[in-house]
Amino acid sequence: MKDEINAFITLIDHPSPGIPIAIKDNICTKGIRTTAGSKVLADFIPSYSATLVERLENAGFSIIGKTNLDAFAHGSSTENSDFGVTLNPYDHQRLPGGSSGGSAAAVGAGLVDFAIGTETAGSIRQPAAWCGVVGFKPTYGYVSRYGVIAMASSMDCPGVIANNINNVIKVFEVISGHDSKDATSLSLPPFRFKQDRLIDGLKIGIPKSYLKITAPEVLEKFNQVGDIFRKLGHEVIEIEMLDPAIAIAVYTILQSSEVSSNLARFDGIRYGQDRRYFNPENQRRILLGTYALSADSYEQYYIKALKVRTLIINDFNKHFKNIDVILAPTTPTTALPLGSSLDDPLFGEYADQLVEPSTLAGLPGITVPCSLIDGLPVGFQIIGPRLSENLILNLALQYESIKN
């Protein structure tokens, strides 16, 4: 396979027989180099596989390679990878998004039908939208994090990227379910999809505040999605949610705090290279997190963020009493040009603001491609309450079948 877009950090020469699948390179694969996109782990070969990888292999999937990502998943562009940027399959002058840019681009370019990504704040949904594919993030805890190199432990979610909903379901059924090696994994068996024609019609809410920050051309395409759902018999209304800027602040504080701690183990003594090999974005996040947790700032930043997180969760819960799911654009814009992330320390925050709130609350979400603008993909997202995967997938399937 020719990887013209640099979607892969490692390609397996002779993959075992089975259904080809690509794994984001922050997920440990026994005997296969796992770099997390960073020079720190450039030569790290784990002696163990992540639980989700073991389940995939047991179910007949075959790993064909490890996909590119922003180093340690720090980013929304894949430009922060220490192994070069991945190119957007729709326009090689543009970014694929991130941090699961390699996985999204590999599927978008037709190099593979299935890929695993991880999301801490949009890292599956955002690149999937920019690469014109389906990106699915389950409820936090539904897929085991054992073997997934930790970024923000209370938010990290492995998920699925594929070309259509049925393929997403196929993989999710394999990797989901309780794992005794992960104390935060839900006490549920693996997900089993049940078809539901949703004949009673759902109540779908669109957060006004999300629309305000979406580019006009994306908004125009998004409105068409709303119309389609209305035609399908669902009620689509606008709702008033908390300002996404609040979620951005909370997310940044909590994520960087957890990152600063999770990356402390990389000292080069037991494995990998030492801390001089962290790239500038990694360093920024570690320092920011260290700062947010330090004695002078702890109350004002970290504790405050934990409390506001409760408010964000309450906000979702309040709305989900009246509506079944939330509908929104996945990203404010289509794929941005190469180089856009380089000078902007807030790049990720801007790109992810429509997905950060749901990640903080641990909610499941899916992005589905809906149209193209100047040849660049646009996606919309459905966010549901915790454990509403079946509902979200059925609704997405409905849209997909109409579109087809």
Partner: protein, 471 residues
Amino acid sequence: MKIIPIIGLEVHLELKTKSKMFCSCSAAHFQAEPNSQTCPVCLGFPGTLPVPNQTAIDWCLKLGLALNCRINQYSYFERKNYFYPDLPKGYQISQLHQPFAVGGFLEIEGRKIRLNRVHLEEDSGRCLRQNGQIQLDFNRAGVPLIEIVSEPDLTSLEIVKKFLSRIQQIARYLDVADADIEKGSMRCEPTVNLKIEEDDHIFYTPLVEIKNIAGLGEVAAALDFEINRQQKEFTETRQEKDKPPAGGKTTRGWNAGQKRTFLQREKEEVADYRYFPEPDIPPFEFSEEYIEKIRQEIPELPDQKIKNYLNWGLNQTEAEIMSYDRNFALCFEKAVGNQTKLAKSIANLFLGPLKFNLDLEKINPIFFHDLIKALNKNEISATVAKQIILESYQTGKNPLEIAKERNLFQNSDIEDLKTIAQKVLADNPQAVADYRKNPNSIGFLIGQLMKVSAGRANPQLARQVLEELLK
């Protein structure tokens, strides 16, 4: 000038669980091949996750309750973040804001020593310095550790030693820890400063925490040195505060070889551990029922046993010895059974020949009761009693049977004793002469009589008979 030491103790106990705190590696790390008991989790490899050991948590609750603590019904682990080569994750999973147990106390010599907390955490690996390198062994990394923190209520070395002994004793009673200070499964870090009363003024010296102490004896030596050092420093520099110092303590290391403490960390640099709740481990909620269930598992503790034994007629020292080791105490109690009037005599049997590692199964109370009754009736001498109780324990035979078989019953036959006494007097004319000069020297003659009678003579009667004959 009146000097009052103010001492607080931080004690760490390694729990004797089978597996480590957050992974399934064996926790029995003492002298194992370096890094032979490790796995990706306790080595802090990327992507690995901690899963807490249920037994370790139950034992922490148990120890907390035994130390009179209150159990927090809502509790969680936190990350204590700092860098050190023997700390694989770059943080230690520990507790701070909501530990499993808080408050508590121990009564030592009538003083109530309050506890601040009893919490659970994981141990680090070990650093060994060799040839200018640091060699790291992570076998110990992740072993469950209980941390007990006292309030600064200890005021003397004696109390410190007793406090530590009691903690060790209770931990062993509950069978949750070996608490072996030599093997490092119990460690202690004291913090000390002095309250100095001079004329009408009160002064306080700065707080010092002493690290690197490896032994109960060293605790006393280190504190002794440090108390003297602080006193000298105060007198020389008059560096003092007139209120109790808040926070900020200096760390000094104990050098056992040189028998002194030396400065490790400057006072002003307070470590910033950036504690935050451990996101990889969900919090804990304990119901009243659950806590009560744990409480029910606590056996009768030493202080209650001592009270019981005192009631049975033992003195304080005897009571403390008999209750020191739980198994030994249980053997003693089984031997006493409901015959508490015989308790003191039975204690004497234990204090002599019966060693500490007794098998409770082999203790037969009837044997003890029979033996004491025979002793009280003078059918057996005390010496013989101590001999045969050991044999009885080992063989499982009734001691009176053994006495019968080996003809060990005490000879209280006056006529027979008279005969033996006459022989003894005849054989020892010098001793007789000595007796005439000093009646207190009769002991020698009694001893000779005992010897000739192969220990079977009743010693009181022997004395009586001899004294009669010597008149």
